[in-house]
Subunit: 477 residues, 2 copies
Amino acid sequence: MTHVQPEVPAAIATVPGAVTDRAGARIVALDCYDVRFPTSLQHDGSDAMNPDPDYSAAYAVLRTDAPGLEGHALCFTIGRGNEVMVAAIAALRHHIVGRNVADVSADLGGLSAAMIGDSQLRWLGPEKGVMHMAIGAVVNAAWDLAAKVAGKPVWRLLADLTPEQVVGLVDFRYLDDALTPAEALEILRAAQPGKAARIAELERSGYPAYTTTPGWIGYSDEKLTELSRQAVADGFTQIKLKVGADTADDVRRMTLAREAVGPGIRIAVDANQRWGIAEATAAIAALAPWQPYWVEEPTSPDEILGLAKIRAAIAPAKVAVGEHVANRVIFKQLLQAQAADVLTIDACRVAGVNENLAILLLAAKFGVAVCPHAGGVGLCEMVQHLAMFDFVGVSGPRADRVLEYVDHLHEHFTDPVRVTGGRYLAPSAPGFSATLRQQSLRDYEFPHGAVWQRLPGHFDNPSKAPVTAAPIVQQGQ
Amino acid sequence: MTHVQPEVPAAIATVPGAVTDRAGARIVALDCYDVRFPTSLQHDGSDAMNPDPDYSAAYAVLRTDAPGLEGHALCFTIGRGNEVMVAAIAALRHHIVGRNVADVSADLGGLSAAMIGDSQLRWLGPEKGVMHMAIGAVVNAAWDLAAKVAGKPVWRLLADLTPEQVVGLVDFRYLDDALTPAEALEILRAAQPGKAARIAELERSGYPAYTTTPGWIGYSDEKLTELSRQAVADGFTQIKLKVGADTADDVRRMTLAREAVGPGIRIAVDANQRWGIAEATAAIAALAPWQPYWVEEPTSPDEILGLAKIRAAIAPAKVAVGEHVANRVIFKQLLQAQAADVLTIDACRVAGVNENLAILLLAAKFGVAVCPHAGGVGLCEMVQHLAMFDFVGVSGPRADRVLEYVDHLHEHFTDPVRVTGGRYLAPSAPGFSATLRQQSLRDYEFPHGAVWQRLPGHFDNPSKAPVTAAPIVQQGQ
C-alpha cells in the first residue's frame, strides 16, 4: 500500500567504528520509569490551562545484552497520570523485546507501523492520546538506540540518510490526498544541494531559539519584566508570553513585555486552548497594538475549521498550533484548511520520529514554518534533533524558523542542550539526548525517590485539583 | 463562561420512594476491574482493521457506604491495553471518592467538567484517547448511581429532566460557534410536546434496531448468507457488513447479502477506517450496484475534510462516523463541514453521558441522524439509554433512526438488552444496565479468572500481533 518498504539505511547497517557486539545486540527488556519533578512548588510552567504542572516523564529504557548499550526516550506529562503513560509504554513490550538491535534499526518505519497498527491497541486511540504518545516513546527510544550504535546524534543520522531512505520511514496512510511518496521524495531531493553547507553552518553557529522563560502566567510583573530584559541581553530575538486567563491581565503583561524588549523583538503569545473562536478573535484584537507575532493554541487543538476562521480574523498575527495536535491526519487538515502559519511540533505528542518526519514533509509541501514546541522536561533535548534535520534535510534555510527554549531541568540529562547567544548548539553525542542522569532517576522516581519521600501527599492535595484559572470547573473534589 | 451552572435536578434530589440512607450515602471507593472475553477464538467481531478482537471491559465500580448501592459502568476495549484503561480510570479517584452521592448526582455536569479540566490529566489528551474514555467510564458510573438512587433507568431519568436541567449538564466550551445554550434550550423545548406519548410508545413497542451479526469479516460465505436470512426472519430491516480488506471479497459478500435479504432491506457497510480518500471513493463505487445504505468509517475518524469529500462523491450512499470520534469538537466540525449523514455515537468513546448530550444536541441542530454504535461488550446495554432519550427528549420521531445490535455477551449482564422483532425494548430497571454478573466478573477477570487460567499465554502469542489484513505493517514482532 502507501507505506513504502524502506531499504536498510546503510548509515545504520554498516557503522564505521561500531563495536561488533553492539550491532549484534538483542533488546532484552523495555523498562518504564515514572519520573516527576515538583515544579508546581515554584509555578514554573504555569499557564491559563495548566496552573500547577509538575513536569514529569514516562521514561522508556530499551535494555540490551550489549554492555552499556541502552535506548532512552521519554514522554513528557505534567504530573498526575504519568503512571498511565508508564502502563501504556509497558503495553508495547511485545513489539520490541527479544528483537535484534540491527533488525529494529534497519526498519524503524516498520516498528512504528506495527505498533500503530496493533489490532487491539489501536482501539485505545486510534492514533491519539496516551497510547499514541506511548508508541512515540518506544519509537524514539529505538531511534536513540540506532543512533548510539551508529555513533551519531539523531539529527545527523537522519541527515545522512538518502531521500529514498527517509521516504521509506514514513507511513503515508491517510496522507495521500495531500502528500504522496513521490512528492515527499521530490521535497527531500530538492534539499540535497547545500546540505553539507547547512550541516557545517549548524555545527558552527547552531539553530535560532526563542525563550518562554519570562512569560509564565504565575510570574509577577516584576519577574516578567526582568526576565524579558534578560532574554534580550542573552541574545534572543523572540520571547513568548502565556495569556488567556484574563484579558486585562494579558494587556498589562503584554505592555510590560513590549516596553522591556523594545520594538525589534518578536513577542509570541500562547493561550493554551483557553478560548472559544469568537472569544479568541476578541482577545487577540485587544493585544494587537503590541504586535503579537504569533498566537499559539488560541482554542482547541482539534479545531481545524475554527483555527482557519481565527487565522483569517487576526492577520497579520499568525496562528501557531501543534504541541497538542494528536497526529499527522489533523496536521494535514490544518494545512489543507489554511488554519495555521506555524506548526509547533512536539517530540513526544505523536508517534515519534517517524510521524514527525511525515509532519515535516507535509509542512514543507504547504510552505508552512515548523517551530517546535519545547520546554517541559527533555522536550528541548529531543526536539532539537528534529528542528535541525528540518533545516538540513527538508525545508532548508528559512528566516522564520525558531525553536522554543525554556531553561528548566536540563541538569538532569547526561547530554543537556547547550543554548548560547540565543541559539541551540548542535548536539554531537550519539543518540537522542534523552538520557537521564542516574542520580536524577533515583531522586525523582515517583513515589520512591528521595525528593518524593520528602513531599508526601503532594499529588493527593485536593487543593491542587480545582483549576482556579479555568472556570469550566464548577466544583471540584 | 459557557458552561451553564446546572440547577439541582429535582428528579434526582427528591426521589419518590428512595431509601433515605441511599440518598445520604457516600462514595467510599472507585474499584477498577480488567475483564476480558476470548472472542478472538471464534472471530466474532472481526473486521478489516480488527481481525482478532478479544472483547474487553475496563469496569468501573463506585462503591458506597449504603448497603447494596454501587454505580457501574465500563469502557469497552478489544483486548491488549485494557490494563491501561484500568490505570486511567484509577487516576480519576481523587475526583469522586469521598463525595456524597447526592452531591455528585446533583451536579453531574460539574463532575464531568472537573475531570475534563483536571489541570494535570488533561495533558494526556486533551479530551481524547485513553484518558478521555476513562472520564467517560467514571461519569457513566456516576449516572448509573444517580439513576439507581432515583429508581429509574438512565433514559427515563434524562427524559424527566426539564430542558433547563439538560442544558445545565452540557459543557459548551468550544461549541458556541455551532450551538449556544439558548439554541440547545430551544431544541429541547421544541421536543416537549409529545414527549409523554413517545415515552408510552417506547415502553410499548421499543426502539428500532439493526444487526451486524451476519457481517463479520472472518465469517464464511455460508455463515454470512444464513445469518443475513435469519436477520430478516427475526424482524430486522437493516443489516451491516464489514468491508475494506479486499474489494473483490467485498463485492462477493455484498452480492450474497443482497440476494439473501432482498431489495427491501437496508445494507450498511463498515470499512473500519481502512481506506484513504480516493481509495474509499473507488471501493464504494464498486459496491453501488447493491445499494449500500450507509458507509461507516470509510477512512480515519479524524478526517473532517476528507469525509466531506467522500460524502460528496458517494451520494446517495450516506457517510456514517462516530464510534472513534474523540470528542464533541470533532463531531461539531463533521457537522459544520457536512461530512456525515449519520452519527454513530458510542457510550464509551467520549466523556460519558454529558458529552453525548452535547453531541445529540449538535446533531439535532444540524438535522443529522444519530444511529449509535453498539456491540462489543456492554455497548448495547449502555447506549440504548442515549438513543431512547434522543427519541423522547431531543430529536423526536424520525424514520431514519436505528440502533446497532449484536447478539454477543449479553448473558454477562444483570439487566441485559431485550431485542425482539428487530426492536430494543425499553429497559425498566434502575440504572445504566452496565452491571456485570458477579460470576462473569469472577470468571473473566484478567488474568486471574477461571477462563483465563485455562488460556495461558493467550495475549502473549506473537501470531496475534501482526495484522495480516492491514498491509501497513511491514514486519511484526
